[in-house]
């Protein structure tokens, strides 16, 4: 690693300025680190080593919990994928994570017709992909034709953030228009999500398996892929000619860092240990019980909200026991989310008060409907005909009330959460069978409502459509839905152009999902990162994927 700060003329010349306003800067540093708005500053006590101004150069070592999977953009919502793609691709628009407003990026401005069936985007001039080809109207059209319609021949699926897409129209080299068969109000926000990252025409013309591979992803982002050791490490290098950051970013031009080393480190305590001992600069997925370790070492914990469908248990009506709404409602009443949060998590994980997070658009408070009431749960189960057997587990017609669930690898402390839920359910006479996540078996059994009656899951996206992504039978379909009414409600929501009406629809869906007992929301899942004190300017998109564009490293002790 080059000595990028010690001899740098920049840091030396700014030293006086920095020392003079150390106190103010310390505060600014905190704010900047949390909000991620432009370059931040920090000061270290003891030796006068305050660094006020961003410095160029250096390598950021970022430890990731899991290796990336398929990187075909619309399918790349998985956080390990997003952590890479957010650095190497740009989007048409930028969603301000604080206001959730959509701001210009590659599109400098846009027009939307009244009923949201026609979108016209005007593109920034001079943007190129890292292979040298221009990012123009044709390239954007090629991208969205695939995201909106899919491609059967190349086996590319439709993206969940585009609804009712009809076709694209290249008006001139820097203007592109999209036509929709029905109103598609979520589309503008859809152009800002991770899956809508723009890739070169060559990339988008590749078949699915090829687009899954990182080396084939050519974007226009501030970093490019330099090297990949599959399942172990990804090295990103800065793109020196990058000059098209979102206009609202405080930092323009090339990224400060020279390189980012993303190293897959599955063991939780190894990640945290490496961070606090100075071997890593930034880590994803600090477990709740490790937050204190990170904070006590003087490091920063970033708990970023994901603004989507809450972490919870999703009950599948296709299961022969759970097809009875009474049983589903009983399980809902018999689950104490507050106890789970208080036992296993920290203040970064608020107790769920609805299917959606409080920060999600269209959220409505259903905490009364979701109140913990074991007596009601027992009554409901009695009414449904399930009576206590000799071992305490309820039975009906010789069948035990046993439900299977898989430990969810991506969810924090999934096993402990499920064990605690199992404890709570045992009190009302229900046996929860927890299966450890074994990738092979899980891939087969997770789609079988009989074997996997309950799914432990969540999804983040800062748009009303997130609820459709989670529940619609054509999208993620976590409950393996056979409920036509739910599908219809979700489709109505995604085609509603008026925001107030749309939010009302989202509220209705939340109420319906809770009323039907499809969901037992537990908590609002954050993405928790840990960062070294000398790492500044980390920003997060609206659903907590990190952006390292404005990151710089000051001198460390």
């Amino acid at each position: 690693m080059p000595p990028f700060t010690k001899g740098s003329p920049m840091s030396r010349s700014r030293l006086r300025f920095a020392a003079a306003s150390a106190a103010t800067l310390a505060v600014a540093g905190l704010l900047g680190a949390c909000g991620g708005t432009g370059p931040a500053a920090d000061s270290s006590t003891g030796k006068a080593k305050a660094a006020g101004q961003p410095v160029y150069g250096g390598t950021l070592t970022y430890l990731e919990h899991q290796p990336p999977t398929c990187l075909y953009l619309p399918a790349a919502g998985f956080y390990p994928n997003g952590g890479i793609l957010n650095q190497i691709t740009d989007k048409l628009t930028w969603q301000n994570p604080e206001t959730l407003k959509i701001e210009p990026w590659i599109a400098t401005k846009w027009e939307i017709d009244k009923d949201a069936t026609e979108y016209t985007f005007h593109l920034r001039d001079g943007v190129t992909f890292s292979d040298g080809t221009p990012l123009d109207a044709e390239a954007v059209a090629a991208n969205f034709d695939v995201y909106g319609l899919g491609d059967e021949k190349l086996k590319l699926p439709v993206a969940e953030f585009v609804n009712n897409y009809e076709r694209s129209e290249v008006v001139d080299p820097l203007t592109v228009r999209f036509h929709f068969t029905k109103p598609s109000p979520g589309f503008l926000q859809g152009t800002s999500v991770i899956g809508a990252g723009l890739v070169s025409k060559k990339t988008i013309a590749l078949p699915y398996e090829e687009q899954c591979r990182l080396r084939n992803i050519v974007g226009s982002g501030p970093f490019t892929v330099k090297n990949q050791v599959v399942d172990k490490e990804v090295d990103l290098a800065v793109r020196k000619d990058y000059d098209w950051a979102p206009p609202s970013s405080g930092h323009q031009g090339r990224a400060y860092l020279d390189e980012i080393k993303i190293i897959v480190t599955p063991e939780d305590n190894v990640r945290v240990g490496a961070l606090v001992s100075g071997q890593a600069d930034f880590v994803r997925y600090v477990q709740a019980y490790d937050e204190a370790t990170v904070k006590n070492a003087g490091f920063t914990v970033y708990a970023e909200p994901t603004r989507g469908v809450n972490n919870g248990l999703y009950l599948r009506p296709g299961n022969s026991i759970l097809k009875d709404r009474g049983v589903r409602k009983a399980l809902q009443a018999g689950t104490n989310a507050k106890e789970i949060v208080e036992t296993l998590f920290t203040s970064g994980y608020p107790v769920a008060t609805s299917v959606l997070s409080r920060l999600a658009q269209g959220y409505t408070d259903l905490s009364k409907e979701l109140a913990y009431d074991p007596d009601r749960a027992a009554t409901l189960l009695d009414e449904a005909g399930w009576t206590r057997g000799p071992d305490g587990v309820r039975e009906k017609d010789g069948r035990k009330l046993r439900l299977g669930v898989f430990v969810a690898g991506p969810q924090p402390l999934s096993k402990q959460t499920l064990e605690l839920v199992g404890q709570q359910w045992a009190r009302i006479g229900v046996k929860l069978e927890i299966r450890p996540a074994d990738a092979g078996t899980q891939a087969v059994d997770i789609k079988d409502a009989e074997k996997t009656a309950v799914a432990h899951s969540m999804v983040g996206r800062a748009d009303q459509d997130v609820i459709k992504s989670h529940f619609h039978s054509q999208n993620r379909d976590v409950i393996l839905s056979d409920d036509e009414k739910l599908d219809r409600l979700l489709e109505e929501e995604s085609a509603e152009p008026d925001v107030t009406e749309r939010n009302a629809k989202v509220a209705e869906i939340q109420r319906y999902v809770v009323d039907q007992g499809y969901a037992i929301p537990l908590f609002e899942e954050p993405q928790v990162y840990g960062g070294a004190p000398y790492v500044h300017g980390v920003a997060f998109e609206a659903v907590a994927r990190p952006s390292f564009y404005s990151v710089w490293k000051s001198e460390r002790e």
């Binding site: 939780d268 305590n269 945290v272 240990g273 477990q287 019980y289 490790d290 204190a292 370790t293 106890e339 208080e342 036992t343 296993l344 430990v407 402390l413 096993k415 402990q416 499920l418 064990e419 605690l420 199992g422 404890q423 045992a426 069978e433 927890i434 299966r435 450890p436 074994d438």
Partner: protein, 265 residues
């Protein structure tokens, strides 16, 4: 002469206590190993919770005590599989000699050349996870060691005068094997049994640690250690104390094995 006996006494005591844990866990702890008290999570060892509590508020000592039945019965099954299959193969090879001996011993060579853990993992993938399957998998791994040892003893005993005499006086082959060869070649095999018992507990814990053992929330020693490792920095007792129990049992089994080996040598 006195000191080794003290060691043996302690070893026997450890195994006796653990055996009692498996037979009557209720005598040792009043806490529930499955259902905890969430408010009492992650408490350090105290008089109330001898080994402290885990992240969900379960008493760790109760989990270790109740978990011993899984580890011990698993180890018994594993050793039984190894002992029966291995001794049978060894007896066959040693007494028949010639091509049969060669064939069996080359097969044993193949088994020996595959690392035990790898062999166990392969068997588990075929049988599926679960306590009994883990035990069988571990047992398969020890077949080779038993077969080799049993064969060498059988070859020695087979050529002794009294066995030749038994054959000479018209004894039928299987009867002579059963009455004279087997009993006289079992000594070292039994010593190996005690040693393998300790190794089996270790191997079963390893597989439990890797997530192939019992389903959560069943307390199982390897699983307890695996669950605790994430809390190593903040709650040392979660890995250290179950780990110490496993070490104690394995050492005790080894000590007893050595004393059996010495007395039969």
């Amino acid at each position: 002469m006195n000191r080794p006996k003290t060691g043996l006494l302690v070893a026997s005591l450890v195994l006796a206590v653990v055996a009692l844990w498996a037979l009557a866990p209720g005598l040792f702890t009043a806490h529930d190993p499955i259902a905890g008290v969430p408010a009492e999570k992650l408490q350090a060892p105290s008089a109330r919770h001898l080994f402290g509590t885990d992240a969900v508020g379960r008493d760790l000592f109760a989990r270790v005590v109740h978990g011993s039945v899984h580890s011990l019965s698993g180890a018994f099954v594993a050793v039984a599989v190894g002992l029966l299959l291995g001794t049978l193969l060894g007896l066959l090879a040693g007494s028949a000699g010639g091509p049969v001996d060669d064939a069996v011993m080359r097969f044993v060579d193949v088994l020996l050349s595959v690392p035990g853990l790898l062999l166990a993992l392969t068997v588990i993938i075929l049988l599926g996870p679960g306590t009994v399957n883990v035990a069988i998998a571990v047992g398969t791994g020890s077949v080779a060691a038993f077969a080799r040892l049993a064969r060498s003893e059988v070859v020695r005993v087979r050529r002794t005068d009294y066995v030749e005499a038994a054959f000479g006086s018209g004894g039928r082959y299987p009867v002579v094997l059963w009455r004279h060869v087997l009993p006289n070649s079992l000594g070292p095999v039994i010593a190996l049994t005690a040693l393998q018992f300790g190794m089996a507990i270790l191997a079963i814990s390893t597989l439990g640690f890797l997530g192939y053992g019992a389903e959560p929330p069943t307390p199982e020693w390897g699983l307890l250690i695996a669950e605790g490792r994430n809390y190593l920095a903040t709650s040392w007792w979660l890995t250290t104390l179950p780990g110490a129990v496993v070490v104690a049992v394995v050492l005790a089994a080894g000590r007893i094995s050595r004393s059996i080996g010495r007395s039969t040598a």
